[in-house]
Subunit: 205 residues, 4 copies
DNA sequence: ACGTAACCGAGACGGTACGTCAAGTCTTTCG
DNA sequence: CGAAAGACTTGACGTACCGTCTCGGTTACGT
């Protein structure tokens, strides 16, 4: 006996509509911004009835989260073999700088930045969505940094008593904050500096 | 020569209404959250005409920004002599840990956290407001950390070639991100660790 | 080929709402008067969204015009066989006096008078609505008088060179003006007198 | 002890403001129509504070009524000796036709027609103002017709048993209704016909 | 092969809040 | 102290979207 509240029959779902909704949602967020993106607008642009959106998602933010996850997966596939893993050349600083430079590029691509920023903002204020955003998008990425740091610990390049989950925030969070809150400019030089400071510390040796 | 679009005659403004609007706005954000706080609701709660709000502010976010700045100023005054300055006991680590612990407390006070979070969220998506939020609230506070770090540089506790404006982000941004995006728990232990990592670096010495 | 500005899909329209709106509009005009009747009030009383009114009508006056036309049609149906036709007993004076006496009664029934007066007033100042009011309500009624006068001409009771469309105004317009502009009292005696004066003229014979 | 609600000290009243308000009110009604004429607009156009209007009048309609009365008086003065009286040449039909032709001209002069129509409309719906409009503008004019008819009765041109107050409506009201409600065109020929029909009646002699 | 049960596009529905406008009141400033 | 200026409270306006609820139509099984 299926629950009354469960999603409708998934097997009959129109893949065409799903794709059109994702495309419309991402396009609208990029074009007019998140606040002016409306469910009504997404439905119209996707050539879809409003109810088709409400049948499968609970809110505008929900749609966008799925659309963005879908986008990320597609991007990952397009990127080929090692889609999302931090290289391990043995040179920790160089590896981190490389990944952060790629992130800088990504953050400046409007197609990626607009929905990402919108979801982050919504997550700040809507805790439930925020937790899903973090769990499905942010944490997996952070975990890659943690893995790389653990590897560095085994190689003796990072002290053994360091908590990798916290350590990674030393260079990731500053970039995140500058980007989200416009508290400063973003550049390769900046992220390189973050890695240097974080690895070597501020105090004289 | 007053511009046609400038705000109306400020000298005639009702201080009573201004205060009531601030109080109502902060109270509502705290009680029902930012999205459910409406201009109409603020006006009603403040016993003020809606037009009186639109006469002086352009949006809900604008009102809240001013209300929150006002709150901060009052809090600063109430805090007495050294309202917003980081102590300088000579022990950099201890001083930073102390201030961050105070910040942790503040971030857990709902009266302060709700509007702050709302403004941060709005600023993420509304760049114009975001820049004002940063310029009027965030940067002044960050500058205090920069000052303390400069003092530490003079005392030889921080390397001279370090850029204080970037260095401070090593411990401030992680806390900010955990708070804003719920990427992890917040505690005294956590901020203490951040300061230790940031000052000493991750690499073995 | 439907015009872009045409009313929405009429076949899907809710008859229930339409009726409720008419009832509410007529009731409110009767109770609080036309100027204090608001679209918002009609919607609330009808248990209907405001947008449902604006979807189908352009203004308060438009709603009221349709509501009143609907009322007239219902009254006509209720009146039975010969709903709106002037009797033709052969005695022109008696027939006209009878109809005018009925009109006097109608003009003193508040349920009928309030919306009628409101529409007339609006029509005086809003030419577009005025023309519709006249075309759909006033002229059809006047035409009945013209018909009766033509019949009287064929019977030799009215001179053949008389223009019936003007002639009818001799007894209809005075009543209309007294009612609309409060220029004098209204009674059976008054309308009887009008008919006598109009048929026989003022000059001695 | 003066009542709180009495008008303020009339002797100190600014004639300059009073005139400017009248001019502004009449101009605005002519230019944008009655509904779009606002007290705020009148005050602005007259270079006067809004309160100066509310001090001396109770409503927009009140202002306009006084403005129109003032205009009528000025017009009357300008017209010279016998400002408002119906000529008495002994030929009743000719005298009435002449006056009605002049009225036709007046009704087509926008400077006169716009405020007049506006006041009539307001009077239809606002009984209190309507009665003042009628008493101060309409009835005095009707009385002139009544006087002329009484004179005709003394001359034996109108039957003695005719009530002049009702008789005059036979030709005045039709013109009024056509003008107010757009129920038909207005012309010299039309008003001439009205006089003929009214004096001679519709029935064959 | 055919009913019947779902999804689908469309869009009307009852609502909430928006941002604007004007009403009429109240307060401040000036002559 | 009257008048100008204009800020105030109030409340209707007409618009934009919300999330729900029909409406036909078109698949896509299940018997």
């Amino acid at each position: 006996m299926a629950s009354k509240e469960s999603t409708p029959d998934v097997s009959r779902r129109s893949e065409r509509s799903r794709r059109a909704i994702f495309d419309a949602a991402l396009a609208l967020v990029g074009e007019v911004g998140y606040p002016k993106t409306t469910v009504e607008g997404i439905a119209a642009r996707a050539g879809v009835g409003k109810q088709t959106i409400y049948r499968w998602w609970r809110s505008k933010a929900d749609v966008l989260l799925d659309a963005f996850l879908d986008l990320s997966e597609q991007a990952a596939e397009a990127a080929g073999q090692a889609p999302y893993a931090i290289p391990d050349t043995g040179d920790l600083a160089a590896d981190l700088k490389g990944v952060l430079r790629a992130t800088v590029d990504e953050l400046q691509d409007p197609a990626f930045a607009a929905p990402s920023r919108a979801l982050a903002a919504e997550g700040v204020v809507n805790e439930e969505l925020g937790r899903r955003f973090v769990a499905r998008l942010l944490l997996p990425q952070l975990e890659l940094y943690a893995d790389r740091l653990r590897s560095a610990q085994r190689a003796g390049q990072v002290r053994a008593d360091i908590d990798p989950r916290i350590a990674l925030e030393l260079f990731v969070s500053p970039l995140a904050q500058r980007w989200l809150q416009h508290t400063g400019p973003i550049s390769y030089e900046y992220t390189d500096t973050l890695v240097d400071y974080a690895l070597n510390g501020l105090a004289p040796r």
